[in-house]
Symmetry: C2
Subunit: 393 residues, 2 copies
């Protein structure tokens, strides 16, 4: 259900022939009435054509739908690619009966290749004909690339005695890094929220969820998170109101759930790793240190080998920031101490055993203040190398 | 010969029992008379004990020798580790007959473990007894860790009709990143150079050679480059003099040669990759862009798979800097064009074939100015993952 869990939304996912391996590859999510909307888009200087279209479409805070394709990123395709992305919006708009500026567009797949627009057009038309209130599952499948499972999440909360729902779908797998992963997520809610408030809520939710995912340090050209609010629950939510924390809490939970699903299904990963830095002089230092550890190829290899090699953790932090004292640092792997005050501590056999499971927390206390941050990453595996050595050929 | 090619130097390398796999693991390089000296040390906030000793020893611009061990980094070992490093200097100084402040120390191996000082002491004494003018080869073998071959280089130039020699040895293999790799290099010359001029020459040489190597983005706690000048050639070299470019050219060539040897023997690598950015608005932007491409796990996997995936090159640059226009970028793999003006160009079959050899140049022209930079890296392979998943266990 996910993206169609909230009232007022229909969706579909169809096979248009874009993916070499077959399967659904065009998704359409539509709101039955004009929705307020917000988006968070990639910070990469190189931005795909659909990102430009979505930025323009969401500028007025209003959308009717989102069209997404897998099987091609439509990035680095020049003016022709931009026209293709607008054409996707126009075809969807024609089917739904709205302006093309009311449609957001997202694409994912190989960079640098034009989309087969004839196939895309036919796919969008077919999807429009299949829109259904239980179409969320098909849509979630259609946005997958190297994902092995679809990612969906839903939360329902009570606002003034009525149920308000937040739902969403996402795709990830590779090129996952801060300031958004190679990820596309479409989120919906039936709360009534102004576009301005929706933007505030979305940016806050993304900043501590999707933005804290880092599978391989590679920020995509196509990262897109779009949130639409139908208002169909009949319940208004506004900043400063009593219902605001309830709504934003549900939105954050959905984003956090989807972000964890992205990490769990990252290319080649066998472990989900949470790097948790506490005791930093401020949150910025904590985040810098956590990201450096999460991005270290050597730390990720050690975790893969279940090797409690805490020296690599300290080396990774020290290369990224000077705002900590190495002689104060404690490190734990899944709570098993391995380093205290910057030198070896604890029992390495116990620490090695603690790394045996699928979930690993690297806990780092800098003992210098109250700054804290967590970044999610994965282990680095031979499978990651295999998958990404053969991706486009 | 390498580190003993220049007149006035003797060296030795012995097996002290520090390496689990056996082999030479303690090296000693000694100048027959007080040498002027300079060093470039890791920029990591976490610095190993021997780095602190070397910094103190070289502060007065004078050294008599360098002692190096593999089989243990003596990093993150606290006050006890610092005392161990000073003890290494003291033992070597006692054998040679100088003050411990005249000995530089470098260590490489696992972080966080104390050195077995009894073995180290005995090794230094044995090495002192074996010092020889043809001991450079043994010394170069003793500093190897996961290196598969020893790295040596020598250049001889004429200064006022006399031969001046610059020689050196290095070790690398893993944790290779800008601001020095996990690398140790000892360089010697028989030119007579003031300590101040030696520092200027060394920093300049390192900045465009060792500092432009990036195998895995991981900067070590132990990076050390030391240069000693014996003056035994009888030829003085000074900044501003006619002989300065000759001497600094030879020094840079030795550093560049050793840096290339480090990349060629990097853990798991099957290809040497030169990322060459030209046409940037300035050299800093060129270097930022080149480093970002050299560090991209996805680019390195693509090179490994001989996949001309130029989209990953653009995405890596765009995530690192906004100071270029994606619509102006040209990309070539070993001169085969794959992207022109930000969109696909050339023949992918030809580009794929161009990636078939061991040496790959990724040429990127930003068409915005005269800034240029080159960074050396490797492909990312399953072997790298295997080697670094099992390193300390």
């Amino acid at each position: 259900m996910s993206v169609t869990a909230a009232r007022g939304f229909r969706a579909a996912g169809v096979a248009a022939g874009l993916k070499a391996r077959g399967g659904r590859d065009v998704a359409l999510v539509v709101c039955d009435r004009p929705a307020t909307a917000a988006a968070v888009l990639t910070s990469n200087r190189v931005q795909a054509a659909p990102v430009a279209v979505t930025r323009a479409a969401v500028a007025d805070g209003c959308l009717r739908g989102v069209v997404v394709n897998s099987g091609g990123a439509n990035a680095c395709t020049g003016a022709a690619g931009l026209a293709d992305a607008w054409e996707m919006a126009a075809v969807a708009a024609h089917e739904i009966g709205c302006a093309r500026e009311d449609i957001a567009v997202a694409s994912t797949g190989l960079i640098g290749v034009r989309l087969p627009l004839g196939l895309v057009r036919a796919g969008i038309r077919e999807a429009a004909g299949r829109l259904a209130t239980d179409g969320g599952r098909d849509a979630a499948m259609a946005i997958m690339t190297t994902d092995t499972v679809r990612k969906e999440s839903t939360r329902a909360v009570l606002v003034d005695g009525a149920t308000v729902t937040v739902g969403g779908m996402a795709k990830g797998a590779g090129m996952l890094a801060p300031a958004l992963a190679t990820m596309i997520s479409v989120l919906t809610t039936d709360a009534e929220v102004s576009a301005e408030d929706l933007g505030v809520a979305l940016r806050a939710a993304v900043s501590t969820t999707f933005d804290r995912v880092d599978s391989d340090g590679c920020t995509s050209t196509n990262d897109t998170v779009v949130l639409l609010a139908s208002g169909c629950s009949g319940r208004r939510v506004r900043r400063g109101g009593a219902e605001w924390p309830v709504f934003t809490g549900a939105l954050r939970e959905v984003c956090a759930d989807l972000a964890e699903q992205l990490v769990d299904d990252a290319e080649g990963a066998t472990k989900r790793v949470a790097v948790r830095v506490t005791g930093a002089v401020d949150d910025t230092v904590a985040l810098t240190a956590a990201r450096a550890v999460a991005r270290s190829a050597l730390v990720k290899c050690a975790v893969h080998g279940e090797d409690p090699n805490w020296g690599r953790v300290l080396a990774a932090m020290g290369a990224a920031t000077s705002r900590f004292d190495p002689d104060l640092v404690d490190v734990r792997f899944n709570r098993a101490p391995v380093c205290r005050g910057g030198v070896a501590a604890g029992d390495l056999t116990r620490a090695r055993a603690a790394l045996g499971g699928r979930q690993v927390e690297i806990g780092i206390d800098l003992h210098q203040g109250r700054g804290a941050a967590t970044v999610l990453t994965t282990d680095l595996t031979a499978s990651y190398v295999h998958e990404n050595s053969a991706y486009s050929s």
